[in-house]
């Protein structure tokens, strides 16, 4: 086989060799066939005895040499074809590829038709997504994501502008009983304030009563209980 850098023999010379080898092989095959015909014409009583034919009378070494040459010639076509292939792969095809405008060819290919022929669903069915996902290291992916950069690209105002706040707010208000909260807090505050005022007034009552009772020199505290007695 020719080395990648070796140009090898010219193509015309290889073709001539191929033809001569084939013709030589055919001649030798014919000679062998004739020898077989002449030896099988009169069967011998003793098969072990060497048969004597006109062709066998030729010098034996010369005949063997011719047969061997024929055999080699019979193998010659395969060898020659291999060499031709080497030449094609080494020189012709690269030269063809160099002259071809692959971009033009690709432009002529209707990729959409190719895609249409592909049964994507079938492909997807064959893919074991669980296995694929299992192999993915999510943490590594997350570490690589620059969240600040992503957020920097987001136009928050545009995003908020798209949100229909009305229904969202209405839903939130429906979920939260604002009236009850306001009532509860107001009632609680009002009750605490009123309670404080009541107790302060009670203290003032007690203090003032003590002062007045002292001034009036009453020896006993006031009787503030309700009973059936007539008020004095």
């Amino acid at each position: 086989m020719a080395a990648p850098g070796d140009p090898g023999p010219p193509l015309s010379a290889e073709a001539a060799r191929l033809v001569t080898d084939a013709v030589g092989g055919a001649v030798v095959r014919m000679v062998e066939a004739l020898g077989w015909m002449s030896s099988s014409g009169a069967p011998q009583p003793d098969s072990k005895a060497p048969s004597v034919t006109p062709l066998r009378r030729l010098p034996r070494t010369g005949l063997d040499a011719g047969v061997e040459a024929g055999k080699q010639a019979a193998r010659a076509p395969a060898t020659a074809a291999s060499r031709v292939l080497d030449v094609l792969a080494g020189e012709v095809i690269p030269a063809v590829i160099r002259r071809l405008d692959l971009n033009a060819i690709i432009d002529r290919v209707d990729i959409q038709r190719v895609i249409d022929r592909v049964d994507v669903q079938e492909v997807v069915r064959k893919v074991d997504l669980d296995d694929v996902v299992r192999r993915v290291d999510i943490d590594v992916i997350i570490d690589r994501v620059d969240v600040n950069a992503v957020l920097g690209r987001v136009d928050v105002n545009e995003l908020v502008g798209r949100v229909d706040v009305g229904p969202v707010a209405q839903e939130a208000l429906d979920a939260v009983d604002v009236g009850a909260i306001v009532r509860e807090s107001t009632t609680s505050l009002g009750a605490e304030a009123a309670e404080a005022a009541r107790v302060q007034a009670m203290r003032a009552d007690d203090g003032l009563n003590r002062i007045i009772d002292t001034v009036l020199r009453r020896g006993e505290p006031r009787d503030t209980a309700l009973d059936s007695r007539t008020a004095r």
Partner: protein
Amino acid sequence: MTSVSLTARARAHQWQRAGIVSRLVADVIDIVFVLVAGVVLLALVAGVRALFSHGFHFLTIPQPGRGIAAGALLVVYLWVGWGLNGRTVGKMTMGLRAVQADGSDLSPTRALARALLYLLFPIGFLWVVVSHRNASVQDLLLRTAVVHDWGTRHIEV
């Protein structure tokens, strides 16, 4: 002051006759409430009149009609409050209740008489200061009383 002492003082005063300070604060609240209610009433009347005239003119009542109307409004307010459950807005705020001397509810007649007496002889209220049982002149005449009642009638003192 802790909440425990607050509660203890409040519990000790339940259904006891109230002193002058508690009652005075409640009465001041009542008077302010009646004044505001009177102004609102006048505005309402003026608004209704504006529907049938060319402009809004605040209603002005010349004396003595103004005083009579104010007195009538106060009497009606006190009568309704005491007659229904012994409470006006001021007494409700201060946790007080006007009752008969034995603790029973005021009858409508006694409530009206009490309101009229307070309008005609308001100075009688000051007897509470010196009364041994925290009673005003009106209380003595009508056998009524004003007690602390925070809405816990069955509280154990």
